[in-house]
Symmetry: C2
Subunit: 492 residues, 2 copies
C-alpha cells in the first residue's frame, strides 16, 4: 500500500471519529433529557461504521506492508499508532464492542443522575457492566503486561506500569504526607479573600477574557457551560472547552479556564501537517495533563501571573480582594473531599486513592458493590477526613462512567512533567518577567515548539529528551512542591 | 424484500441524515469561524456516505419489489417517499452531488458575511454556482413538469405548479394591493407601544417561558440563539429552534418563538411509529408553515391569546404597555423591507417578489448579476418603497444560500392552510374561550390528531380532506385577511 492511500483511509476514520466527538459534545452541552435516547442510537450506529472501518482487512494488510517500508518520521509514527489502535480493536469482538458503546452512550447520564440524587445504587448496575467490559477487553488485548491493570494504564501512558507508578506514588506519598502534617500543625489557615457571590454570567464573561489572555482565542474555539469542565476538539481550529460557574467559589471557574485552556492550546498547536491522522492528538494523556497543569498550577497559581490582571479581576467581579491574600488562599493546602477542587499538594493523594481502588477492582480484590465503603476508607486513610455522602465521594468523578479506568494517574504524571517543562523553559525564557509584563505569547510558543507541534509522533520520554536531554523524572516535581509549601507555611 | 429489511435500511439512512442535521445545527449555533472549514470537510464526507446508502442497488430493487406488494397505509407511504427520494438522487451524478454539498457546506457563511458587510459581490460567485447546480439538477430530475421551476416547486409542495400558484398569488394580489392602499389612505398609524430597550438575556428568559406556555416543553427541546431563527430536530424528543433578540424590537423574538414553536410542535407530534422512516417529517413545507403561521398569526396575534399573559409580559420586561395598543401595533399593516418582520397583510407580497424572481432565474430571463436591480424594482412595484441597501434587500434571506429555491411559496400556502385549519378547529373547539382561559392544550391536541401524528403519510390535500372534507382553498385565508383588516382600520 502507498502511504497516500493509508492517509486517505485514516482520514475517513478520523472524520467518522469527529462526528462521534461532535455527538458527545452535544450530549454534554445541549441534548435535552428527552433526546438522550435518540442521540444514543445515533452514536451506536456510527460506532458500528467506525468499527467496520477500523477492522477493514485492506487497512490491516496495508499497515503490515507499510510497516516494512522506509518511511519519514511522521509516517512511521502514523503507521505505529494506527497499528496499535487496529490491533487492539481487532481483538475485541464486534458485537461486544458495539454493546459496550451502547452502554457508554447512556452511562454518563445515569451517573450524573446518581450523583445529583446522591444515590450510588442508581449507577451501580451500569458501573458493573462497564467494569466487566473493561476487564474483559483488557483480557482480550493483553500482550506482555504483568497484570490486567497494566493493560488499561498502557492505553493512556505507555510504559507507566503498576511497578513504575508504585515507585512514583510511593515517593510522592513519602514527601507529601509528612509535609501536610506539618502544615496542619503550623496553625496557619489562609482565609477566603472575598465574601458574597458573583453572578455566573459575569464570571463567564471574565473567564472568556482570561482564556484569551492566556492565548486561547475564541475565533478558533468555543467556551460553553456543562456540569463538569472538559476539553474536546473537532480540529485544530475548533477546540472547545466547558466550565462551571459556582457563584460563591470564584476560583473554581478561574482555574478550570486556565486548566482547560492548557489542554486546548495543545490541540490547536499540533502541526497542520498531522491533521486527520492517528497522531493529530497529544503524545499521551500524561503529556496532555502536563499542559493543563502547567498552565493551571505553574503559571496560574504564581503571583507574577496575577499582578498585571488582578485589578481587572477585582473590577470585573466588583470586589476589592488583596492580591497577597488571594495568592495565599489559592495555594493553601488542606485535606478536602473533591479532587477537582483540591490544592496542588493534596491533589496527588486524591489520585492515589483512585489508583489503588482501580487496581483492586482489576485484581478482583473488591467488586463494584464495595466501592463506596472502600472509597470512604481510603479517604480517611490518605486525607484523614470523613466522607459525608457518595456524591462528594465515590460518585464525584465522571471518568468511570465513560469507561476511563487507568486515566487518573495521568494527572499526577502530568503534574510531574509540568515541573520538568518549567525547569527547561526557564533556561530559555525569563518566565516570571514575561508574566509580570503580561506577555504570555513566548510561553505558548515554547510549548508549541517543544511539545504541541509534534502531536503523538514522539513518546513522552522522547519529547522530554528532545527538550531537556532527560527522561521522565519526578524529582523536579517533588522539589517544586517542597520548596513552594515550605515557603508558604514557613516550615523552615 | 421484506418491509422490515427496508425499515432497517431506511433507519440507517435516517441516522446518517441526523448526523448531518447535528452538524448543520452546530454550524449555525456554535462552530467558531476557524472551525467552519473543518466542519465543511466532515459534512462533505458524510454526505458521500449518505449518497452511497441512498443509491444502493439493493435498496432500489427492494423498493421496486415492495411497490408491487400489498402494504399497510404507513408502509405504502414509506415506500412512496423513499422511492421519490431515491429516484431523484439516482438521477444526479455522484461527483456533482458531492461537489454541490461541498459548496452548500460553506455557502451559508459566505452569504452571512456578505449580508453583514452589505456586499452582494462577496456572495455573487457562490450564488451563481448554487443556481447553476439547482437548475442542472432540476433538469436531471424533471419528468412531466411544464417548466424547470415547477421541478423545484414540487420538491416542497407536490402539485403546486407555477400555473396553480399564479392563480393563488393572482387572487391574493387582487385583494391585498387595494386593501393596503385603503389602509395607507385611512391615515391610521398605530404606534409602537413601548420605548427603550430590553436586555437580550431578559427576553430570552421570557421567550423560553412563552414557548413552554404554547406547549413546547424544554425537556424535549432546545432553544438557542442564532443570526436567523430556524427549527430543526434530531428526533421527536429533541426538537430545537433558535431565536434572535433585538433589544429595541421586542415583538420580533416573541413572534419568532411562537412561529418556530409551531414548527417544533409539528415535529414532536409525529407518531413514534414513524420514527427513523422517510415519513417522519412534515407532509410538505406548506403544511409545515401552516403550523408555524397558525400559531404565529391566528393564535399569537389574537387578543385572547395575550389577555391571560400580558401582565406577566409587562412585568418580565419592566414595561407598562397597554394591551389594545400592543394589539394594534403587532397587527398593523405597512409596506416594509424585511419579510420576516412583515405584517400578515403585506407578507404575501414579499413572497410574490421572491416567487417571481426565482421564476425569472429558472426561465433564463435574468442572471444572478441582475438580482439586486430586479429585487429593488420588484419591491418598488409591489410595496411602493425604495430599498436602501442589499443587506435589507436581496441579501436578507438565508434560503438561497442553502439552495432552497422553490421554498418561499410554502409560506403563503401555509398561511392559507392555517386559515382553513382555524375554520375547521372552531367547529370542534371554542378556540377563543380556550385562549382566554390560558388553556392551549386542546389546540395542540387537535393539531396532533388531525395533522402532526401522520407525518408525511398523507399529502396536503388528503390531510385537509380528512380534517374538513375539502381540499386546499385560499378563500378562507382571503376572507380572514379582509375581515381582520377591515375591522382594524375601520374600512367599512
Amino acid at each position: 500500500m502507498e502511504m497516500n492511500e493509508l492517509l486517505k483511509m485514516g482520514k475517513e476514520i478520523s472524520l467518522l471519529g469527529k462526528f462521534l466527538t461532535l455527538a458527545s459534545w452535544d450530549q454534554e452541552t445541549e441534548t435535552p433529557e428527552g433526546g438522550q435516547e435518540g442521540l444514543g442510537e445515533m452514536i451506536e450506529y456510527l460506532s458500528g461504521l467506525y468499527y467496520a472501518k477500523m477492522t477493514d482487512p485492506v487497512l490491516k494488510a496495508g499497515l503490515e506492508d507499510l510497516n516494512q517500508q522506509e518511511l519519514s518520521v511522521r509516517d512511521k509514527a502514523i503507521v505505529r499508532e494506527m497499528k496499535k489502535d487496529l490491533d487492539r480493536m481487532a481483538k475485541i469482538p464486534q458485537n461486544e464492542y458495539l454493546a459496550y458503546q451502547a452502554i457508554l452512550s447512556r452511562s454518563q447520564n445515569i451517573w450524573a443522575k446518581a450523583k445529583r440524587e446522591n444515590n450510588f445504587d442508581l449507577f451501580k448496575g451500569t458501573l458493573k457492566e462497564i467494569v466487566s467490559y473493561e476487564k474483559k477487553f483488557a483480557g482480550y488485548t493483553r500482550t506482555d503486561e504483568a497484570c490486567l491493570y497494566d493493560v488499561v494504564l498502557n492505553q493512556y501512558e505507555k510504559g507507566f506500569t503498576t511497578e513504575k507508578l508504585n515507585e512514583f506514588f510511593g515517593l510522592l506519598k513519602s514527601e507529601i504526607v509528612p509535609m501536610l502534617k506539618r502544615i496542619q500543625e503550623s496553625g496557619i489557615d489562609y482565609k477566603k479573600p472575598y465574601e458574597g457571590k458573583v453572578d455566573a454570567d459575569v464570571q463567564e464573561k471574565y473567564n472568556k477574557k482570561l482564556a484569551e489572555y492566556i492565548g486561547f482565542d475564541l475565533s478558533r474555539g468555543v467556551i460553553k457551560r456543562s456540569e463538569h469542565p472538559f476539553t474536546t476538539n473537532l480540529n485544530r481550529n475548533d477546540v472547545r472547552f466547558t466550565n462551571h460557574y459556582y457563584e460563591d467559589k470564584l476560583e473554581s471557574a478561574l482555574f478550570s479556564t486556565i486548566h482547560e485552556g492548557g489542554h486546548g492550546m495543545y490541540e490547536r498547536g499540533v502541526s497542520k501537517d498531522l491533521e486527520y491522522t492517528a497522531v493529530a492528538g497529544g503524545a499521551s494523556m500524561g503529556v496532555h495533563e502536563s499542559q493543563s497543569r502547567f498552565y493551571e498550577n505553574l503559571i496560574g497559581r504564581s503571583k507574577s501571573f496575577w499582578v498585571p490582571i488582578f485589578s481587572d479581576l477585582n473590577q470585573s467581579y466588583g470586589l476589592t480582594m488583596d492580591l497577597d491574600e488571594f495568592m495565599n488562599y489559592i495555594n493553601r493546602a488542606e485535606a478536602s473531599l473533591i479532587r477537582t477542587e483540591a490544592d496542588e499538594l493534596t491533589y496527588p493523594l486524591h489520585i492515589m486513592i483512585r489508583y489503588e481502588i482501580e487496581q483492586m477492582l482489576f485484581n478482583d480484590e473488591i467488586i463494584v458493590d464495595d466501592l463506596p465503603k472502600v472509597w470512604n476508607e481510603k479517604v480517611k486513610d490518605f486525607l484523614g477526613i470523613e466522607v459525608p455522602s457518595d456524591a462528594q465521594g465515590v460518585l464525584q468523578d465522571v471518568h468511570w462512567s465513560g469507561g476511563s479506568f487507568g486515566y487518573f494517574p495521568s494527572y499526577a504524571i502530568g503534574s510531574a512533567i509540568a515541573s520538568q517543562i518549567m525547569f527547561a523553559m526557564n533556561k530559555e525564557l525569563d518566565v516570571e518577567g514575561l508574566l509580570l509584563k503580561g506577555d504570555l505569547k513566548p510561553i505558548g510558543q515554547y510549548l508549541d515548539k517543544h511539545i504541541h507541534q509534534y502531536g503523538a509522533i514522539y513518546t513522552t520520554d522522547e519529547l522530554l529528551n528532545k527538550m531537556m536531554g532527560e527522561s521522565f523524572n519526578p524529582k523536579y516535581y517533588v522539589d517544586y512542591l517542597k520548596d513552594k509549601y515550605t515557603k508558604l507555611y514557613h516550615l523552615n
